[in-house]
Amino acid sequence: MESLAPRILFWFFAALMLGSALIVVHGRNLVHSAFALLATFFSAAVFYAFLGADFLAGAQVLIYVGGILILLLFGVMLTNRIFDVNLRTETFQVAPSALVAAGVFGMLTLLILKTPWRQVSLVEEGPTTEKIGSLLVTTYLLPFEIASVLLLVALLGAAMLVRRRSDL
């Protein structure tokens, strides 16, 4: 009988992730949604750590929490009046969307449980940073370079899009 602690931790973080995701999609306050997203991202990082992906867990915290979430908060603050304490946000067509989402979840769950996954038994443990690093500069060198060009293009494009007309 294996120990119970990993299971309890897994379900705790699964509940945290799904609960905060529910606040993200159903909360009335935009800033509350943004902070609930923080909990979701952290729980996803914990999941990566569970799965033995230590580098990815670190990257998740650094890029998602430190980058994308801050960017979204900037978006919230720049597009709403900051002194407006309750940044309200609306929902519409709730019932059909809930039906669609529940249907998708039901079908995915059925698919997951019915499929006989071909699982490998031997999994190498240990730090992954070095292996991912060497994969990135050998097998995945071209996608890596394309990703860096894409980041540059996104940087220039975003700067151009938000530029005021008078700067042209």
Partner: protein, 101 residues
């Protein structure tokens, strides 16, 4: 060890929540947050398959690229939201019905 199916079901639930937010939200920034939820669900799937089915690190490298693309997407989408806000004085997607600025 937690079986593969549990990870997949949690990620399917996260994906469905993101889809629900994508369909119901009026605020453009909230729609972006829902898209990020869907990205995270896909990433959890990739890492879980990388560990349980593939047995190597390919899925993790893929997830790393997904994170990089998500950063690009967030930056460009927020820039579009900004210029939308400048034109329409709101970020409600109902007002954004014309492509011409």
């Amino acid at each position: 060890m937690i079986p593969l199916e549990y990870y997949l079901i949690v990620s399917a639930a996260l994906f469905s929540l993101g889809l629900y937010g994508l369909l119901t939200r009026k605020n453009a920034i909230n729609v972006l947050m829902s898209v990020e939820l869907i990205f995270n669900a896909a990433n959890i799937n990739l890492v879980a398959f990388s560990r349980f089915v593939g047995g190597n690190l390919e899925g993790q490298v893929f997830a790393l690229f997904v994170i990089a693309i998500a950063a690009c997407e967030a930056a460009v989408a927020l820039a579009i939201v900004m210029s939308l806000f400048r034109h329409l004085k709101s970020v409600s997607l109902e007002g954004a019905s014309a492509l011409k600025g």
